[in-house]
């Protein structure tokens, strides 16, 4: 392809959310020629929607807080399936990652003595989330965006990578990464990026579900690119359903209602007006959870002598409880439950602490949250599973390939605590950037495989050229309905098997996708190219969900209701051979004794 536009870099970062920009900043500062490729305009990535805050044991509000407590909370929240080393690095490094944002212009809310303020969130022992009202993600993305611009890093906006390019491999090993093939959404023109290091920072998979808090970009591109390049995915069965998404009106169903509402005093009630979360405290968290409403209410002002309200249990627990209440016929008029802060905090406090929630309900649902309760229900929010990486370097098994943020797996185990996502992407974004830059210094440039470039072009253009008549919007809707109904918050073997049959059918039909119009900014074509990624990732989620015969965190099997000691020691790994996905079981990495002690001390 002699007429193909080509660029040469040391490090190419795919994705411009928090993890991608943090990786790019670091790679640039390490001296690597760095480029970022992103599907949207710079500053619009999904990170912008994060609301509550960045979890970091800075100890600004509770001096007793430390990385060990944060580490413990994270591991327990993930039901001990987290990669211990990732959770350790995350807890140790998060405070510095937050502080350096201030050097780049971020303006967090303050404590009375002028330090960064920290708020309460589910599953965190102490008030720990650095925040800006309820728009922390916007502050984070803008800060990193402005830093990226200040450093003069090249950004390819509104471009989609459809394939990772790898050099021919030694027998039995994955070939090294040598670049990526992409198209410009605006013009439909193709280009290639040559680079010895590629960082995946593409976020999650939520667009495979009907009810989701995720934007259109969340089509599992990075997961799918990694698989195709020979990398492995870990524990894809763990999908987080955030307990509180909007449920009414239908067009906004799934839009996130921040956990900060509960952190700042909001409570969940069923149609009888009961705070039902007291009925759903699992033994695992009983010792640290309040038993009465009086104790729970005292906790907001006195954390030393009282235990946390059950509304602030980890997200998997709260989402399942809401699901049960609705099923038992105690739901709100539109199939959710009530989230009430209006009767518990005064109007000024609510508008000050939760300005964008106030705005969102006013604009989209005509509900004034300072005077009436919200209706909320679970929404697909985050995938804990992702690319299997080395904790120190964020390296995948493919040489030159790195993954950070939501696309990477292991850090959050079976369930992520709120606030740990923004800190995750800063900590491991930086680590990926460092390692990617270092790797680029050690290898000489590999040429791009010409036959792969031609094949990538042909595959991308095929929907214009074949008849077949399948509409991408229709297949997408059917996939979403399948995943939502059959591989959702509660799962059973027959339903997941049914989903796999449907996914197979959709994969066949996707080969007959036909796109009308031309290549300039054609959303139908863009969706047709994203769909194979969604199908592949959905298959991984369903296959892994069928494999894991227990209930843990973001994976609940009605036919295997409790956690099992056997599965507590197993990671489920997905790899791809040709077109098919294969699963293997792998033992969990063993935590060293000095860290294991942390759990014994507090037991």
């Amino acid at each position: 392809m002699t007429d193909l536009e080509r660029h040469d870099y040391d490090v190419v970062v795919i994705g411009a959310g928090g993890a991608g920009l943090r990786a790019a900043i670091e790679a640039h500062e390490q001296g690597a020629r760095t480029a970022v490729v992103c599907k949207s305009l710079l500053g619009k990535a999904h990170t912008v929607m994060a609301e509550g805050g960045i979890a970091a044991a800075m100890g600004n509000v509770y001096a007793q807080d430390s990385w060990k407590v944060h580490f413990r909370d994270t591991m327990r929240g993930g039901k001990m399936l987290n990669h211990w080393r990732m959770a350790q690095l995350h807890a140790q490094e998060a405070p510095d990652r937050v502080r350096e944002l201030e050097d780049w212009g971020a303006l967090f809310d303050r404590t009375p003595d002028g330090l960064i303020s920290q708020r309460d969130f589910g599953g965190h022992r102490f008030a720990r989330l650095a925040h800006v009202g309820d728009r922390t993600g916007l502050e984070l993305i803008r800060t990193l965006q402005q830093r990226t611009v200040a450093l003069g890093i090249d950004v390819f906006m509104e471009c989609t990578v459809t394939r990772l390019l790898t050099a021919p491999s030694e027998q039995g090993t994955a070939g090294s990464v040598c670049g990526a093939f992409a198209y410009r959404r605006e013009s439909g023109e193709f280009f290639a990026l040559q680079a010895p290091s590629v960082v995946l920072a593409t976020g999650g998979i939520g667009k495979s579900y009907t009810v989701t808090s995720n934007s259109w970009e969340y089509t599992g591109d990075g997961h799918s690119l990694a698989l195709a390049a020979g990398a492995s995915l870990v524990n894809m069965e763990f999908v987080q359903f955030h307990p509180t998404g909007m449920v009414w009106p239908p067009s906004v169903r799934g839009i996130l209602v921040t956990e900060s509402v509960r952190g700042d005093g909001g409570v969940l009630k069923n149609s009888n007006g009961n705070r039902f979360m007291f009925d759903y405290i699992p033994d695992y968290f009983r010792k640290e959870t309040a038993e009465t409403e009086e104790e729970a209410d005292r906790w907001y002002t006195d954390k030393t002598n009282n235990r946390r309200p059950p509304e602030l249990l980890p997200r998997d627990e709260v989402a399942r409880a809401i699901n049960s209440e609705v099923k038992a016929g105690r739901g709100s008029p539109h199939g959710g439950v009530f989230l009430d802060i209006a009767s518990r905090r005064d109007s000024d406090y609510i508008r000050k602490r939760l300005p964008s929630m106030y705005h969102q309900f006013m604009e989209l649902a005509e509900v004034d949250i300072t005077s009436e309760p919200m209706e909320v229900g679970p929404t697909c929010h985050y995938v804990m599973g992702g690319v299997e990486v080395d904790p120190e370097t964020a390296a995948a098994v493919v040489p030159g390939l790195y993954a950070a943020g939501e696309v990477a797996g292991g850090m959050h185990g079976s369930n992520r605590l709120g606030g740990n996502s923004l800190s995750d992407l800063l900590v491991f974004g930086r680590r990926a950037g460092t390692a990617a830059a270092a790797h680029a210094k050690t290898v000489s440039a590999l040429g791009l495989p010409e036959s792969d470039l031609e094949d990538a072009r042909d595959v991308a253009l095929a929907p214009f050229e074949r008849g077949g008549g399948e509409n991408p919007y229709t297949i997408h809707r059917e996939l979403q309905e399948t995943m939502n109904a059959l591989v959702g918050i509660i799962r059973t073997a027959p339903e997941v098997e049914e989903a796999l049959v449907k996914i197979e059918e959709l994969k066949v039909r996707a080969k007959a996708l036909t796109v009308l119009g031309q290549r300039r900014y054609n959303p139908g074509w863009h969706l047709a190219l994203d769909l194979p990624n969604m199908l592949r990732v959905s298959e991984c989620i369903a296959r892994a969900a069928l494999e894991r015969q227990e209930s843990r965190g973001g994976h609940t099997r009605d036919d295997f209701p409790g956690p099992s000691d056997k599965w507590a020691q197993i990671n489920v790994i997905c790899t791809q051979e040709g077109e098919s996905i294969s699963l293997t079981r792998k033992p969990l990495p063993v935590m060293p004794p000095e860290l294991a002690e942390i759990f014994e001390e507090s037991a």
Binding site: S40, K44, M49, L107, R110, G114, L364, Y473, P523
Partner: protein, 250 residues
């Protein structure tokens, strides 16, 4: 509950185009972006619309609805009568790429030209101490979601392409004010705001404030104070506050 709405959508590209009429089903509680998505799924699969979060947080889906700059995701169909024709056109101040998508690179170019944030040293214990009251002024401007509706509506550039060179628009004049009021920043950009970014061309008609989906008081809290700071480069908060209060009494 459902009804058929009459939608008139601009379709075309840089070479030209025009308004096309569609009839689309509308359900309870839907916003204009839902209707455009239904149009894509059922009638015009290649209709170009830029969007991301569909929750008013990312500022991607800016367009003009019945001639007014708005976010497609925050404009409820319920604000129109059922028999009203709703006209959706691309942002007028920027070149059309295709259909409702415009080339907003002017904004990214202006952002690049602003001298970056440059903080003072951290304190001995490694922290930056700031009082809430001092961070709040800049925090208001950092609520900006960069939807560029203020850039689109501002009459200095809306029908005056020739002014774009010398004028950064409300979003970036506000960014200069944000940095100027930032408790940690050490760079004086006031003269630059006037000479290079065209602060003087703003004649405070407040159109930007009116269209801001975040409700930021762009004119009153950013642009007017910035103009005053430029005039009085020996800025002292107390003096400014005093002047502002006394002017209100006039």
């Amino acid at each position: 509950m459902s009804y058929e709405a009459n939608l008139r959508v601009w379709r075309g590209d840089a070479a030209g185009g025009g308004l096309q009429d569609f009839t689309v089903t509308v359900n309870e509680g839907e916003v204009v972006l839902d209707i455009l998505h239904r149009l894509q799924a059922t009638q015009t699969p290649d209709l170009a619309v830029r969007w991301n979060c569909k929750a008013g947080k990312c500022g991607s889906c800016s367009a003009e609805i019945n001639g007014r700059p708005r976010l497609l995701c925050l404009t409820r169909m319920g604000t129109f009568t059922e028999d009203e024709v709703i006209t959706v056109t691309p942002l007028r101040a920027f070149p059309v790429m295709r259909d409702l998508v415009t080339d907003v690179s002017y904004n990214y170019e202006k952002a690049r030209q602003i001298p970056p944030f440059t903080p003072r040293e951290r304190e001995a214990d490694g922290s930056h101490r700031m009082q809430q009251v001092d961070v709040e002024r800049s925090q208001e401007f950092r609520k900006c979601i960069e939807c560029f509706l203020c850039q689109d509506v501002c009459h200095v550039v809306r029908d005056h392409e020739e002014n774009k060179e010398a004028f950064a628009g409300p979003r970036y004049l506000m960014r200069l004010a944000e940095l100027d009021m930032h408790p940690l920043d050490t760079v004086d950009r006031r003269q630059l705001a006037q000479d290079h970014f065209g602060l003087g061309m703003c004649n405070i008609t407040k159109c930007c404030t009116e269209v801001c989906p975040e409700g930021i008081k762009i004119t009153d809290n950013a642009l007017i104070p910035m103009k005053e700071r430029v005039v009085d480069r020996k800025y002292v908060p107390k003096t400014w506050l005093g002047r502002t209060i006394s002017r209100r009494k006039d």
